[in-house]
Amino acid sequence: MNEMLHPATAAARVAPLAFEGVSVTHRDQTLLNPLTLRLAGCHRTLVMGPNGAGKSLLLRLAHGLLAPSSGRVHWEGETPRQAMVFQRPVLLRRTALDNLTYALAVTGTPRRQRLALAREALARFGLAALEKRPARVLSGGEQQRLALARAWLTRPDVLFLDEPTSALDPAAIRAVEDAVVDFHERGTRIVMSTHDLHQARRLADDVLFLCGGRLLEHTAAEAFFRAPASPEARAFIRGELVW
């Protein structure tokens, strides 16, 4: 049962991710102030903060989609397999099934195994009946589930999710959160941004709190929600406007 690898075993396997004095500037504007950070273990890290806090930037830096203006982002060891699920899923203009077999082809799965694996993933995410449907005409929730199925197939050690539920209805949000739990149980480190406090409470092992391009806290979830250290986080949790 390699599939159900215990989180603790996986933690030892997946290299920690380190940010060392990482900042992002764009045309003399500082979008992310220098931050130092280390993510290790098989935790579910929730990146929180108001809009424009730099949550997406942090995820994109971590995943390697964006190069920092200064500092260094690196894995302390072997670079793990990663996948990312975006706020608005980017799906190819092909059928749901073809979107999955494409991901398998790219990641080097032998041709003979692709179809069976793709069908299995569709079934796991409740999309079996939609395999022949063009991905772009699926509903928002179905599209996000398909994006998760695609990520599932690449068997990531680390999964980044950038506000994956911000445009979804409650049932679809539930499906995404269940999927996040499944990934985690399979031994995947989760790094997910959200501005939904309730969602963070449901999912987080630890919390990164960003505000105005500054990393203000990196705390265990329980401590963060009980007694946040920074006034901004306290205000955020009380539901006040912060920026």
């Binding site: 975006f86 494409y102 790219v106 063009p134």
Partner: protein, 234 residues
Amino acid sequence: MPTDANAFQTALALILGMDPVLLGIVALSLRVSLTAVLIAALLALPLGAALALWRFPGRGAIIVVLNALMGLPPVVAGLTVYLLLSRAGPLGQFGLLFTPSAMVVAQVILILPIIAALTRQQIEELHGEYRDQLRSLGVSRPRMIPTLLWDARFSLLTVVLAGFGRASAEVGAVMIVGGNIEGVTRVMTTAIVLETSKGNLPLALGLGLVLLGLVLLVNAAAHLVGESARRRLG
């Protein structure tokens, strides 16, 4: 000598009567232009996509030149190919001048920049949308080319059609390198020029109608394919 009014009737009679001379000319026109479009598309689609994906010094200059070549006068393309293929030219030994092959070469030169430049635009736009996802999946740039070409297939159909339109409508290039030889290199456009200058308006008009009809037919078919697919695939 027919008057203009019954030139139209005679034209229709030629078309409906499947006049063998007319049919031969139409068939050669289609063969030359379709071959040219096929070759140009095979070269220009990957070229345009590569130009959209790679950043290198001189890229801007290439794009400007390609865009400018979209307006290359057919007679200039024809003259260039003529010089290359004439007996004394660098490629003279192949004896291609005044053959349909020479006409294909000239038309490829005319439409390759059109397809490449428009493909570059379409693929750059699509890549903007797909960039993060493809990089996240670890798709290499050479691999992105077929991926993006396939996903842009409906807009690229229109691009290839623009090339076909240009190829089937031009007269200058095929006239120079083909020579308008009856039964060998005479195509619709060169025949129209010749018959008009001879005063044989019914045949010229008949050819003109066929040319219009064909272009209309091809575009209508492509439009239907594109629209229905767009609706299905979102």
